[in-house]
């Protein structure tokens, strides 16, 4: 364990994200749907972890703890997917390059195992960030 890998991160919608969001963003189901990172099996192996282990995702712009799982919709080796939401938005690139649009897709991140880390609820993710 304790390997560190570098990934290209993208975020976006999933149906689980949509359903759990409408059921209440303060509920655990929203955290379970969006507080995850989908990885390729090879990258999970490189990290030396089991599926469902918590990991820390860090970019130039921030850091967040999410649960690593093998892609529900397969992602290639070297790519990571966090459903859109407050977890992804802790690490995505806020630069808009004068278009108004932050760069939500194609962000360089590093991932390290953090089995003792806790995946926070959506409200806690904001509170934690504000306290920093």
């Amino acid at each position: 364990m304790a390997e560190k890998i570098e990934l290209n991160l993208i975020s976006g919608r999933t149906i689980q994200q949509g359903v759990s969001m409408e059921a209440g963003k303060e509920k655990p189901a929203y955290r379970d749907a969006c507080g995850i990172i989908e990885l390729n099996a090879a990258d999970i192996k490189k990290l030396g972890i089991w599926q469902g282990t918590n990991v820390r995702v860090t970019s130039l712009h921030g850091t967040v703890v999410v649960k690593a799982i093998e892609g529900l919709q397969k992602v290639d080796e070297g790519m990571g997917w966090i459903p859109m939401g407050p977890w992804a938005n802790r690490v995505i690139d806020p630069n808009t390059y004068s278009t108004g649009m932050p760069t939500f897709k194609g962000v360089k991140v590093s991932v390290t195992p953090e089995p003792s880390g806790k995946v926070l609820s959506s409200l806690e993710v904001i509170e934690e960030g504000l306290a920093l």
């Binding site: 949509g18 209440g24 997917w81 004068s98 278009t99 108004g100 932050p102 504000l130």
Partner: protein, 437 residues
């Protein structure tokens, strides 16, 4: 006893399905069941019935806890906050009806606000591109009745617009498309093996962020010119094959999503996707359409379009409408610390803005008008829950193809709750008094 209401419109995504059936109690107070909707749409209706739903505005105490207040107090606070701000941001507007958006515009004009909607983190770059190069588009009805080639570029409708394929693009049998999906070719362009890609006839697994190159290569292929062996991860043979199929289609449509609007080349990706569509009209009929997310983000752009001349990023601070994405866009305004209060309605920037912007929202006065508890409410000083548009109050919304559709009320809101439009009118009245107009 219960009754069934038919032809109900779903107020979740830009597909704006208008064939839902909702079962309600005889007295019209309880929503019992929803059919025909996808899982997300059904949840939106059912969650309105949640027992733990907030029904009263709540104001933040000094120690961070909440206290209930009346709608009158909430309107007083909002009006004072907006009147006292030098440069307030009024953001959201996509999950509410056009009637509320219109009242919001009147408020914005009165106080010289920065007005922005969720396109700013969704299809704002599309709007920029459309202004640059125009857009050959059509309605979803035309797609259903005529299209025999469907392309989803950088979008995953199986997840984001779950009934889009079954209602409009792939599966329905239309006037000239009697064979349904058997008569159509589906191409999905996505760097991931998405559920939409898995049912495609052709999946172009583009390298992430290299959409511009691939679109450019298609333009080369249309003209029969020479391509390098591989472009954006796709072998040239495949590119020639798809280009030929596009030229031979009777009527094709490119639906595009966040995969192109949110990656690095942004509006330039859309520019060239529109140019591809224009090229194809030399050979056949082709259209292009953005997969708009919120059910009425299109309406917000329409309302502002005819009121101000611009669909998002509208700066009213000088007494007339200016527009300059990058300067007058919410995230740029917030990150640079240029706004001194924020009024959020019909959206959740707390969840969907980069965290740096959320942090700035926490540093300035913030009002959030939203039926739900959301990450935005964490940074709000006042949270005003309202009735659900399309469930507890009707009103106009625009589908992703800019077709206006009237949403319906199916149940009563909990007693005492008011709508977005009513709350905005209360704020407007107070502002008019403060300003003496």
């Amino acid at each position: 006893m219960s009754k069934i209401i038919t032809d109900v419109v779903c107020p979740f995504c830009g597909t704006l399905c208008d064939d839902l059936e909702v079962t309600v109690s005889d007295d019209g107070k309880k929503l019992i069941d929803v059919s025909n909707a996808c899982a997300i749409g059904a949840m939106k209706f059912l969650h309105s019935q949640a027992d733990d739903r907030l029904t009263k505005p709540r104001m933040r105490n000094e120690d961070g806890s909440w206290r209930d207040v009346s709608y009158e107090e909430a309107a007083d606070f909002s009006a004072k906050m907006l009147a006292n701000s030098k440069k307030p941001l009024m953001y959201g507007w996509s999950s509410t009806n056009c009637e509320a958006q219109s009242v919001g515009s009147t408020i914005g004009e009165l106080i010289g606000a920065q007005m922005d909607n969720t396109a700013t983190v969704c299809h704002g770059t599309t709007l920029i591109a459309v202004q640059d190069v125009g857009v050959p588009s059509c309605t979803l009805g035309e797609v259903k009745n005529r299209a025999d080639m469907i392309i989803y570029w950088g979008g995953n409708p199986a997840h984001a617009h779950p009934r889009h394929m079954s209602r409009y693009s792939m599966y329905p049998r239309g006037f000239f498309t009697a064979k349904g999906h058997r008569g159509r070719t589906l191409v999905v362009v996505d760097p991931r093996d998405t559920d939409s890609a898995s049912i495609a006839d052709i999946h172009l697994k583009v390298e992430q962020g290299r959409d511009y190159e691939l679109l450019s290569a298609l333009r080369v292929a249309f003209r029969g010119e020479v391509l390098p062996d591989v472009v954006a991860g796709i072998p040239k043979e495949k590119i020639y094959e798809v280009a030929e199929k596009m030229k031979k289609a009777r009527f094709g449509v490119i639906f595009f999503g966040m995969g192109v609007t949110q990656t690095l080349s942004k509006n330039h990706n859309i520019d060239i996707a529109i140019q591809v569509t224009r090229d194809l009209n030399e050979y056949t009929k082709f259209s292009i359409m953005p997969m708009r997310g919120h059910y009425n983000v299109t309406g917000s752009g329409e309302v502002w379009g005819w009121q101000f001349g611009f669909p998002f990023c509208v700066d009213l601070s000088r007494g007339f409408a200016r527009y300059n994405p990058g300067e007058s866009s919410s995230n740029d305004l917030l990150v640079r610390g240029e706004v001194d209060s924020v009024f959020v309605i019909g959206s959740d920037p707390g969840a969907h803005f980069p965290f740096g912007s959320v942090k700035k929202m926490n540093e300035i006065p913030c009002v959030c008008v939203d039926p739900h508890i959301t990450p935005t409410t964490v940074v709000a000083d006042l949270h005003v829950p309202v009735a659900f548009v399309g469930v507890e109050v009707g009103g106009c919304a625009y589908r992703m193809d800019s077709v206006p559709i009237e949403t319906h009320k199916v149940v009563d809101a909990p007693e005492g709750m008011i709508t977005d439009e009513e709350f905005l009118n209360m704020v407007l009245e107070r502002l008019q008094k403060i300003k003496g107009v």
